[in-house]
Structures are given as structure tokens and as C-alpha cells.
Symmetry: C2
Subunit: 210 residues, 2 copies
């Protein structure tokens, strides 16, 4: 069985967790308390040598880092994998865009605004810089989504899950969903896909989450 190592509230951890729910892939989950530094414990470093969360150990025993690589692995030969070579390339294009133009800015802005708000004032300048960079990336995404229901014209896919991970919590980074009407509509579409579960259920007792 696949085993996911995850931490509460993380958009990156949410991605493979949501995909396994939507694909009905059975999995175990172990929560790592990164705010207490548990990702640097010897026990965890023996599992994830770089001390990174999320980490997926597959049913064959292979270890996979990087949330978007996990999505690709989980979705192979499923309905969440785009159906053509061109669509797969476009999916990866957006998944790389997410990791270079969205996540590196939304994630720290959210961390110091909402997850660790006691440091908000001391990081005020950084937060403004991250928000401005995130806004540039989000504006391009919004323009893209004006023309279609999902990221790809071929339908809901792992590209949506990859981008949804952090984009759907952009308000927690001090940004405003009302500024991105196409993203707002798309966010609602994703929430109504089959088997969707919210980020708030990540790490909840199995009776609720699985």
C-alpha cells in the first residue's frame, strides 16, 4: 500500500492526498509535525533523506519527493492523466509554472500571514514582495482560465490538482479571490469534482478522511 508522509495545512501535501482520494487508491498516512522540526529527526531522514515533506513511499517501496512528481506517478493510466502527448506536455508546463511562479510566493506569504502570524510584522516587506510576485503569476493563470473550465481543454486532470493546492488558499496569503474571477469560478468547479475532499480534512482521523 502507498504511504504518504504529510503535514497539516500544506498545499503540497494536499495534492497527492486529494489525488489518492479521487482515484480511490488506498493509502496510509503519517503526519510529520514540521513546526516542531520532526522532518529533521533521524527516523524521518531515514525515510526522506532530504528531510522534505510530503514524501510518498509507493506500494513497491520506492520513495518519491516533489508533490507534482507524486501526482504524475499516481495518475498514470487513470482519468486524471491527460489523454494526448500534447496535453501531457501542457499539463507539465502548468505544473512547472506552479512550482516556479505560484507556490514559491503564495506559500511563504501564507505561512507568515496565517500559519505563523506572530512573525507577520517582522516579515512585512517580504510578504509584500511575495504577494506582488504571486499576483503576477495569478493574473496570467486567471487570463488562461477565462477561456476554459479546467487548466487543460481535455478536462479535469492532475494539472488542476497541482495548481489548486496553493491557489485555492490564496486569501490565507493576504491576496483576494475577487481579483481573479476566472480562478474563483474554476476553484468552485474543482471543489465539485468527484471524490473531492477539502484541505481541512488532511490529517483528520481516518473515519472522516478515508
Amino acid at each position: 500500500m502507498n504511504k504518504l508522509y504529510a503535514c497539516l495545512g500544506s498545499g503540497n501535501c494536499f495534492k497527492p492526498w486529494l489525488a489518492m482520494h479521487q482515484l480511490m487508491i488506498p493509502f496510509e498516512i503519517e503526519m510529520i509535525d514540521v513546526l516542531k522540526g520532526a522532518q529533521k529527526s533521524p527516523a524521518y531522514l531515514a525515510i526522506s533523506p532530504l528531510g522534505v515533506v510530503p514524501h510518498l513511499v509507493t506500494h513497491t517501496g520506492a520513495g518519491i519527493g516533489e508533490s507534482n512528481a507524486m501526482l504524475w506517478y499516481l495518475a498514470e493510466d487513470s482519468d486524471l492523466m491527460p489523454p494526448t502527448a500534447e496535453a501531457r506536455a501542457e499539463a507539465l508546463q502548468w505544473m512547472f509554472y506552479e512550482q516556479s511562479k505560484l507556490e514559491p510566493f503564495i506559500s511563504p506569504a501564507r505561512f507568515f500571514t496565517t500559519i505563523l502570524p506572530e512573525q507577520r510584522d517582522s516579515r512585512a516587506d517580504d510578504i509584500l514582495t511575495w504577494q506582488a510576485a504571486a499576483d503576477a503569476g495569478l493574473a496570467r493563470l486567471d487570463a488562461h482560465l477565462e477561456k476554459r473550465d479546467f487548466i487543460l481543454s481535455t478536462g479535469y486532470s492532475i494539472a488542476d490538482i497541482a495548481i489548486f493546492g496553493y491557489v485555492h488558499v490564496l486569501e490565507e496569503a493576504g491576496l483576494h479571490m475577487a481579483d481573479y474571477p476566472a480562478i474563483a469560478r474554476w476553484t468552485d468547479m474543482v471543489k465539485h469534482t468527484d471524490g473531492f475532499r477539502p484541505l481541512s480534512e488532511l490529517g483528520q482521523p481516518k473515519s472522516k478522511a478515508a
Copy 2:
């Protein structure tokens, strides 16, 4: 026929260019002079709406951005695509690593050290920051390569091309190959793979490059 829009000296442009050479995929190439801002010309924006180089227009007319997404597209069903789902996931893991832990630091350090050296002094602090971040990413890569000939144990793949793009020119970013002995050995291995062409030939007249 595929058409690649590229710019001189770019590690990201080099990746799909090298892959097409090694896979013997015929292609056209058009060089975009980014130092003169040609990527923001109306003509180029009509091709690449985000004004990004490289850009690949496939033989079916689809446009692909992001160098590592191009690699995936070009390598599907070829010897450069890893053979198992686990190996494909590990390839993507390293390709995302390259775009978050290596390229964002090696590329600007190299740009202001070697490509635009007249700005080197005014960006000295930034260059030191980029070099330190690149060193952290390179040290992990070096430790990984101590154990194997190529990025994946299954052999030479698009993961090698993705990482080679910027790592092989780390000295142009003011870093020292002697600090990374496993990377140095691997770099030499890649240069001896079938059909290899050096970055210096990118954009040279077709009689030499193709």
C-alpha cells in the same frame, strides 16, 4: 516539423535542442535575441503569449513552454524516457528539483557573472546569495551522483539532460566544478553519450549544428 524558438547560451533552450539531436528528431530553429528584448515583440508574443524563451511549436501545431515539459514531450516512447512508473516519477522529482533548487540560482549568478559582466559589481551581494543557494542544491546532487553513473539507476534519460543544462556551466556562475567531484565525473559521462552536442553550437549555422 517541430520548431524551437531559442536564445544563445541558454541552458533552458539547450535542453530540448540537445534532446532533439540525440533522438534524431528533425526540427527548425529560430533564435530570439532576448538581450535586445525580442521576446516582447508583437510577433513573438503571437507565438509565445507569455513572451518566454524557449518555446516549442510541435509538428501538430501545439505550443509548449517550460524546457522540462518539452523534454517530456520529445522523449515519450523513446530511449530517453525512463522505463518504469517509479523511474518516471524519480525523473520528474529531479526535474522539479532542477527548476526550484538549481536553475533559479545558477542561471542569474551566471547571467550577471558571465553573460552581462558589466553589472557584476552592482549585483555582487545578489550573486553571493545565488551562489550559496546553488551550492546547497549542488551538494545534494553531488551526494546523489556518488552512487550512480546517471541521475536514474535505469540509465541516461531526460532527467540528465534537464540537470545538465545549467549544472555543466556552473563555473560560468562563479562556482567551482572541483567542489563537486561526482558531478564532474557525471558531466563527462553525459558529454560522451550518443549524439551529444555542446551548448556552444546552439544557434550556430545549420551546417554545423544539424
